[in-house]
Amino acid sequence: MDTFLTDKNRAVRRSVRAFCERELGPIAKEIDQEASFPWEVVEKMGKLGYFGIQVPKTLGGAGMDSVSYIIVIEEISRVCAGLGLCVTVHNSVGVYPLLAFGSEEQKKKWVPPLARGEKIGAFCFTEPNAGSDTAGIEATAIRNGNHYLVNANKVFVTNGGVADVCLIFARTDPNAGRKGISVIVAERGTPGFVVGDLEDLCGVRSNPVSSIRLYDSQLPLENLLGKEGMGLRIGLTALDAGRIGIAAQAVGIAQAALEEGVRYAKQRRQFGAPIAKHQAVTMMIADMATQVEAARLLTFRSAVLRDQGKPFTKESAMAKLYASEASSKVTDMAVQIHGGYGYSKAYPVERYYRDARVTRIYEGTSEVHHLVIARGVLEE
């Protein structure tokens, strides 16, 4: 993989890895166990540009390419998947839709503080009755004079507990089906804006995933992103880019599991030799390393296509599907190599195992990605 990278990409990897190992590594276990959000580290990340990776310099970002972006996400996730999730969701489905569909005024208002990490973004799509069925959204935003009257019950909102700028998917026209959905920006603190309890999740526990509800919130008409009825298009465009980030997150988790598996296999002795000398273990190591690299290359390819302005929907779906499935398998093998210790919190692999599992579920389940890929292949 390294052969395909530019000097700049490599500099990004060096710098982000050093930061994460020193600043995030020592607390990764604790923030997982206590499900706490590490504000101190997040503030430092904001100053280093991690919250505006692809935001243009004129709006306070780093103005980087998608390849640098996946490197940042992989490196953060290698140390702490919950924070990797925070950063990728913020950048890809929180900030990117504002850049792609926002007016100049909207960009100037919301993007700079988001790019500096002073405010955190969230993508509020999922509802109790709308997940894979994107058109099932029931939230409403009814135009009423100079504002929208918004009622919404959004669940499993990544960054929900700390988000300041939330993209709310709601029906502006209850009778228009898929074409009646729009995106309205809601800021924390708006009357009627309520953050629900944090989810007690299996993995990615340092991320404050929560529900967000709006009760009769009056949001100004200028908070509409794009045009009325564009909601699904905005959402799907954001998710096309977003899943490259989730793929990178899955690669990061798998990479960490591979490294721990190798380390343990070299030091654990059974039958008078390190278990890395036993063929059954070497088979697993080979599978892990191959899957990590294949996942990384698929992710890299979708990032390159995006940088080149070429279509990447099918390719990013392939990357997300493969990387998340591989991450589950690789972390599972890392636990297996560790034996009983792998199932104990004394070693980090059980955390990787829990963290990897959700990458097959969010930002499009593996099943939905099969459909996206099949559609792409059959239409060719």
Binding site: K8, A11, F19, G49, K57, A62, G63
Partner: protein, 264 residues
């Protein structure tokens, strides 16, 4: 205030070091190279002084092309310019020749202060700061944990830790300061910093550019010869003391320390 930071690239301390077949060098094929951590303190201190007093920070590295990577890192942290002294004749130079080449590169520059690490974490010689100061005929302040520039920018007050006490030294500028752990916490290169670093000037200089003769540097000019490198002895496996009760184990431990290890 114009500041120069000398930078060395060293094997990452995580790298496995193997002695080469010649017996007096290391195998460099699999080594991951990083900026000498003591030099990182120098870069950080220079940047902090620049942020307070203005001026420019120039980073000078000496070695093969790969050293540009570390120079770029310093530029991404915020330094303004880089210089790489790269000449095949410099290979296997000792500290005297390194100091000579650095001094030749620095002589023509406008500078008030020079930072170097107090030593490289590879061969731990700790000589380049001294040789450099000598060749430039300016004061050397070594192993420094705190540096304060006077308001007029004409002098510097530094602290060195000595035996639990602090030695405070004042010196006129320009001077060479060699850095010690504790001086500061080096910053990480930010993403916008990495983008900016690409456009910053990085000059490459050969011995001829510096007006030096190849016979003054490299293997032939070494005053200091490495006779042999040996890896540290393999740690022997530990011994677990068996016993029913803590008392029994303690007695056995004392017996072993006395009879086998002959420590007590």
């Amino acid at each position: 205030m114009n500041i120069i930071v000398c930078l060395k690239q060293v094997p990452d301390t995580d790298s496995q070091i193997k002695v080469a077949p010649d017996g007096n060098s290391i195998v460099t094929d699999d080594v991951k190279w990083v900026m000498n951590p003591y030099d990182e303190f120098g870069v950080e201190e220079a940047l902090q002084i620049k942020e307070k007093m203005g001026g420019e920070v120039t980073v000078i590295g000496l070695g093969p092309k790969r050293v540009t990577e570390s120079i770029r890192t310093a530029l991404a942290m915020g330094a303004d310019k880089g210089i790489l002294i790269n000449d095949p004749a410099l290979e296997n130079s000792d500290a005297l020749a390194t100091g000579r080449a650095l001094a030749a590169a620095i002589k023509g520059l406008d500078y008030d202060l020079i930072f170097t690490g107090q030593r490289g974490v590879d061969d731990d010689m700790g000589l380049v700061g001294a040789t450099l100061a000598e060749f430039l005929d300016i004061p050397q302040l070594s192993i420094i944990v705190k540096a304060e520039i006077s308001e007029d920018g004409k002098s510097v007050k530094v602290n060195r830790a000595v035996e639990g006490q602090t030695l405070v030294i004042e010196s006129s500028l320009p001077a060479v300061i060699t850095t010690q752990k504790g001086l500061n916490e080096p910053r990480y290169a930010s993403l916008p910093g990495i983008m900016k670093a690409k456009k910053k000037p990085l000059e490459e200089k050969t011995l001829a550019d510096l007006g030096l003769d190849p016979s003054q540097v490299g293997e032939g000019a070494r005053k200091l010869k490495i006779m042999e490198l040996t890896p540290p002895p393999q740690r022997e496996t530990g011994k677990i003391i068996e016993g029913e009760t803590p008392e029994e184990k303690a007695a056995e431990l004392v017996r072993l320390l006395h009879e086998e290890a002959k420590l007590i």
